[in-house]
Amino acid sequence: MKVVVDFDKCESNAVCMAAAPEVFEVRDDNFLYVLQEEPPESLRDKVEEAASTCPTGAITIEG
């Protein structure tokens, strides 16, 4: 599984950080950082929730 963020769409709402803090972190500079671009399968549910609740649809999962 590979996490792809479209940073042109991302508006740093940080909803992904609530769903999958192991993978997504919005820092004090208000930018999103992807902590693991290829997270383990054990995080798939959380990453899928992050993708489907991103207000701007900026997150996609490949594989």
Binding site: A14, S52, T53, P55
Partner: protein, 398 residues
Amino acid sequence: MEHIVVCGASLAGLRAVETLRRDGFAGRLTLVGAEAHEPYDRPPLSKDYLAGKADREKITLRQQGLDELDVDLRLGVAAHDLDVAAHTVGVGDDTVAYDGLVLATGAHPRPLPDQPDLDGIHLLRTVEDSQRLMTLLGSEARLCVIGAGFIGAEVAATARGLGRDVTVLEALPQPMVRGVGETIGSVLARLHRTHGVDLRTHVEVRAIAGTGRVERVELGDGTAVACDAVLVAIGAVPTTDWLTGSGLTVDNGVVCDATLHAAPDVVAAGDVCRWPNPRFDDELMRIEHWTNAAEQGLHAARSLLAGDAAEPFTAVPYVWSDQYDVKIQCAGRFGGDDRIEFVHGTADDDRFVAIFERHGRISGVLGFSQPRRVIQYRKLIADLASFDEALAFAAANP
């Protein structure tokens, strides 16, 4: 289950369909939508789309299309005549039998009582509504917005960004005062006025008047606001009128249990769903916000497949609103009477975070352009942290 019907083809309905397929449901899927469009995103309708900064394609919710979901699309027809006992629902001229049903018919804007039939009076829900408003904002029209809630405030901000003259009328003493209290309400009022909105609070709208088309809004104090267009943004009502006689309990939404079941094999999601949230002492909630629709669509689909083994939906409500250059974010449950504490910044700053207390717990958080922190406090709310623990967290993370 062989056949699942999803009524409502907006965000909640789409997320339900996607989840059903992702979780391995291989039977027939029918998606029914009253609008003639594939699912599209509504938040931009009061912001970027209205401003002409996002085209029609950009607000399509599922950019890759619906093909791989293998769903029978019934768009441009409303569902009707649901019979829960018989497991049937009307779709256009057909009566369709289902094994599982997802109700996600959303809500529609409430008009004013005795709203006259004049050109230039707008409600905002659909992409067509937004297009009509967009055409208007492209002219020199003076806009009068009735209601200073999220939709009214966002349209006002967008219209000001386009250089239009905007008056906002609000019945209460401050914008959104019932939801966020006097202190935050006054911050929102200042935000609008700083950006040139003629915000008039504590006013009574007596009538919208004009000959053929709107010319003015008459107020309770005898004055009037001259305008070329009016947006009525005084709230929404859940779209449940078609459920009379269905066998479901309808009371300000479809009343569900904590797992989002409204009846055996029937679940609800999004604006139309009213459910007891275990995270907030089983308070019956109905949430008209984007994130809730997305999360509930997902959860309702899983609940439907799980049947008796379904789990409760315990999300902490979250909403964002972009107005001018501020990202306003709220999470949790709070009202104007709850104790409020500014934990980062103050009401006079461009960026701040305030938290709300109810029954000794942190019940809500509201931030101006502080997304990271809002989400951190949302986590504390989800963890049922005490208000003191939240204050301690704030002190430890200045």
